[in-house]
């Protein structure tokens, strides 16, 4: 809680001569307090936190991956999603502890920079920003697939594939909207997530009953490991992108009310909710068609599953839900990326200018453009699987390091480290979480790993060049 300068340690400065912003004096259930009389209000409740987590995640796992995953791993893709869910949970538990000890904006970046030092923090922070861009681009390409499916549904035939064009259009529109829009988008996000969960529960409930033969056409039991055992793990690595959302809750940790209770519940809760939905979805989808046919449908396989069950209304409902879900995922990721830019610039790892606020709209236009601009370039590649894996890679590095940061902090036990939630099964859970995060990376395509490593190397180079003298401390 003390003034960093008073401790005789110099926080250092970056190339532009900026120093990290002062840490707050106190963190309460309702506000973060600076200099005794300046406060930052906490305005996101448990529902809002869950909506961020679930809303970010559910778009990918249900609406983009089922076809791709079934194509890779057969019915055993169910297991791939379950593995992803278990790993996400192993990381979500340590993350919850860190978040209750440091409920500040920036999430994983903040925990690692305070737990393990500025260099690790810089790599993870810049990696988080870029990783979120890859994730957003992935969601937008998914959105493009759904939009083209709508076009196809209307019977129109276009001379070209509109997938990338639609993705670019929505990417630009989302960025513009987040810069110029001042409407209450959070409550909208809550409504969207609510609608999605209702539609999916109805659809999956029908699907499960159908698969069990209630409607008189029990599906043929398929061989579980129809593609062998190894693809289960590579598929788990691919679909892990569907579990990236829980850490986005931590990027707004500074705005969550009663962080000691709401952060762990929102993070662990959203992982558990989406894992159940994913596993049931893949089970239903593969039962309806068999992995081979499902795989042929690609990104919009769920539309065909719905059509098979309920006919055209089902297909329309899932098309609409898919558009909503991918849109909300992309939106949440752009906003998280902008929070990451803010956290970095607050700590002088990026120019202060990067988190500047637009006087007209009150929005951080530089940070939002820094997130939205590169996303368009990534969308233009149209590489769904590559985008997903690079996003997962950069996040998995962060997840692994968060587990390590927890171990480091528990061993050093600095005075300021006082989490209100403590991870169960310490040290097994964080150790297994770190190993599993690292292990999943091994099963990715070489190209994804290569791009991920290049991004990390560039992040480190930037840190050495721009902010090599900056030293961040953990006191809050």
């Amino acid at each position: 809680m003390a003034d960093p300068q008073a401790k005789g340690t110099d926080p250092g400065q970056n190339v532009a001569g900026e120093t990290p912003a002062q840490e707050p004096e106190a963190v309460t259930d309702e506000a973060t307090v600076h200099d005794d009389d300046v406060e930052l209000e906490r305005t996101i409740g448990l529902g809002g936190g869950l909506a961020i987590g679930v809303g970010t995640m559910i778009g990918a796992g249900i609406f983009v991956f089922p076809g791709l995953a079934a194509n890779n791993a057969g019915l055993a893709a169910t297991l791939s999603f379950a593995i992803g869910g278990v790993i996400a949970l192993l990381v979500a538990l340590p993350t919850s502890e860190l978040a209750t000890a440091m409920p500040r904006s920036g999430g994983g970046y903040y925990f690692i920079s305070r737990g393990m030092g500025t260099a690790y923090g810089a790599i993870v922070g810049l990696g988080l920003w870029l990783g979120l861009m890859f994730a957003s681009a992935f969601y937008l390409v998914g959105l493009g697939h759904y939009a083209s499916a709508v076009v196809a549904e209307l019977g129109a035939t276009l001379p070209f594939s509109p997938v990338i064009g639609v993705g670019l259009l929505f990417g630009a529109a989302l960025t513009a909207l987040s810069i110029g829009g001042t409407e209450n988008t959070a409550s909208l996000q809550n409504v969207v997530v609510g609608i999605l969960l209702v539609v999916l529960t109805g659809f999956l409930g029908y699907g499960v009953l159908d698969a069990l033969g209630v409607f008189g056409r029990a599906s043929v039991p398929e061989q579980f490991f129809s593609r062998g055992h190894f693809p289960v793990l590579t598929t788990a690595a691919l679909v892990f992108t569907s579990y990236l959302g829980f850490a986005q809750v931590a990027t707004v940790a500074g705005e969550i009310k009663q962080p000691g209770r709401n952060l762990p519940v929102a993070m662990v809760g959203s992982v558990v909710i989406v894992t159940v939905f994913y596993v049931v979805t893949i089970f239903v989808a593969t039962s309806a068609f068999g992995a081979d046919r499902l795989g042929q449908f690609g990104e919009t396989a769920m539309v065909e599953v719905a059509r098979d069950f309920i006919g055209l209304p089902g297909a329309v409902a899932i098309l609409g839900a898919g558009l909503l879900a991918t849109f909300s995922s992309a939106n949440a990721s752009i906003l998280s990326a902008s929070r990451a830019v803010y956290a970095l610039s607050r700590d002088a790892l990026l120019p202060r200018k990067a988190s500047e606020i637009n006087l007209r709209y009150g929005t951080p236009h530089v940070a939002l453009l820094a997130a939205g601009g590169p996303i368009l370039v990534l969308v233009a590649t149209g590489q769904v699987e590559l985008l997903a894996e690079v996003a997962s890679f950069l996040h998995l590095v962060m997840y692994g390091l968060m587990c390590v940061a927890l171990l480091v902090l528990r061993r050093r036990d600095p005075e300021w480290y006082d989490p209100s939630y403590r991870v169960p099964g310490y040290p097994v859970v964080p150790v297994v979480g770190a190993l599993a995060s690292a292990g999943l990376i091994v099963f990715m395509q070489p190209a994804s790993i290569g791009i991920g490593i290049v991004v990390m190397a560039l992040s480190y180079a930037w840190y050495r060049y721009y902010a090599g003298d900056v030293a961040l401390r953990g006191e809050i």
Partner: protein, 247 residues
């Protein structure tokens, strides 16, 4: 007697400032000066702080001086928030404010209209009125709009009780007037009665559905009246108990 704590919320970066006459009106108050800035969800509150803190503090310094020069004691907060109402409610709560001010300009502090709705909350109303205006020369008019099933005696008893309470708190009864009306719409009646006053003191509206629809929110009144409105807060259940124990 202790100065009643009065919240003065100001949207500090949107050109809102302390309107004329307000420091004089609150000369005997403990002013809780809340400068707040509402930002959209895309922006982290800390981000707004980095950019705007200096300017906001400069303004708050200025406002604080205005209040202290008028004689009030001042405590202040600067809050960056996504939700202005939540911030106001929390500050009211944390600082045990007796009343909140809807800041509008006034030329003088001579005629104060006190809208009395019933016995509920009238004790806090009396504390605020006596605390703020007991040592001034202002005339205090206790105004009540009687309901259809309320007899003249009931209404008179209500206001007389309040006069007695104010007197015991040190307000000269010669400066207290009472007035009872029976016109149809209570809200319109208060707006009319307020026309001659320099400031209005009223209770907080019930949160129940009936008053939500037919009630008279202070903000609506302030819009019509165009002068400062002091909204006396309902005591929190536990705080109310404490306050009564102390007396």
């Amino acid at each position: 007697m202790t100065k009643p704590a009065v919240l003065v919320p100001i949207r500090v970066l949107e050109g809102e400032s302390i309107p004329g006459g307000v420091p004089e009106l609150l000369a005997n108050a403990h002013v809780v000066l809340l400068g707040y800035h509402v930002i959209p969800e895309q922006t982290a509150p800390g981000q707004a702080r980095m950019q705007f803190e200096e300017r906001a503090i400069e303004r708050l310094d200025e406002y604080e001086t205005m209040f202290t020069e008028a004689g009030a004691s001042v405590e202040r907060r600067l809050v960056f928030t996504h939700d202005g109402q939540q911030t106001i409610d929390r500050t009211l709560d944390e600082h045990d404010c007796m009343a909140a001010l809807v800041p509008n300009a006034t030329s003088a502090v001579e005629d104060i209209l006190v809208a009395v709705r019933g016995t509920v909350g009238s004790d806090r109303l009396a504390q605020v009125v006596a605390g703020l205006f007991g040592s001034t020369a202002a005339t205090v008019t206790l105004y009540h709009v009687a309901a259809d099933d309320e007899t003249d005696e009931d209404a008179a008893t209500l206001l007389d009780g309040l006069v007695g309470r104010l007197e015991s708190l040190g307000l000269d009864p010669a400066r207290i007037e009472t007035r009872i009306d029976r016109e149809g719409d209570a809200f319109e009646a208060i707006v009319d009665a307020a026309a001659d006053a320099d400031a209005v003191v009223m209770g907080e509206t019930d949160p129940s559905l009936a008053t939500f629809v037919f009630g008279m929110p202070a903000d609506q009144l302030a819009e019509r009246f165009l002068g400062p409105v002091l909204v006396v807060q309902r005591g929190r259940p536990e705080a109310d108990g404490d306050a009564e124990d102390e007396e």
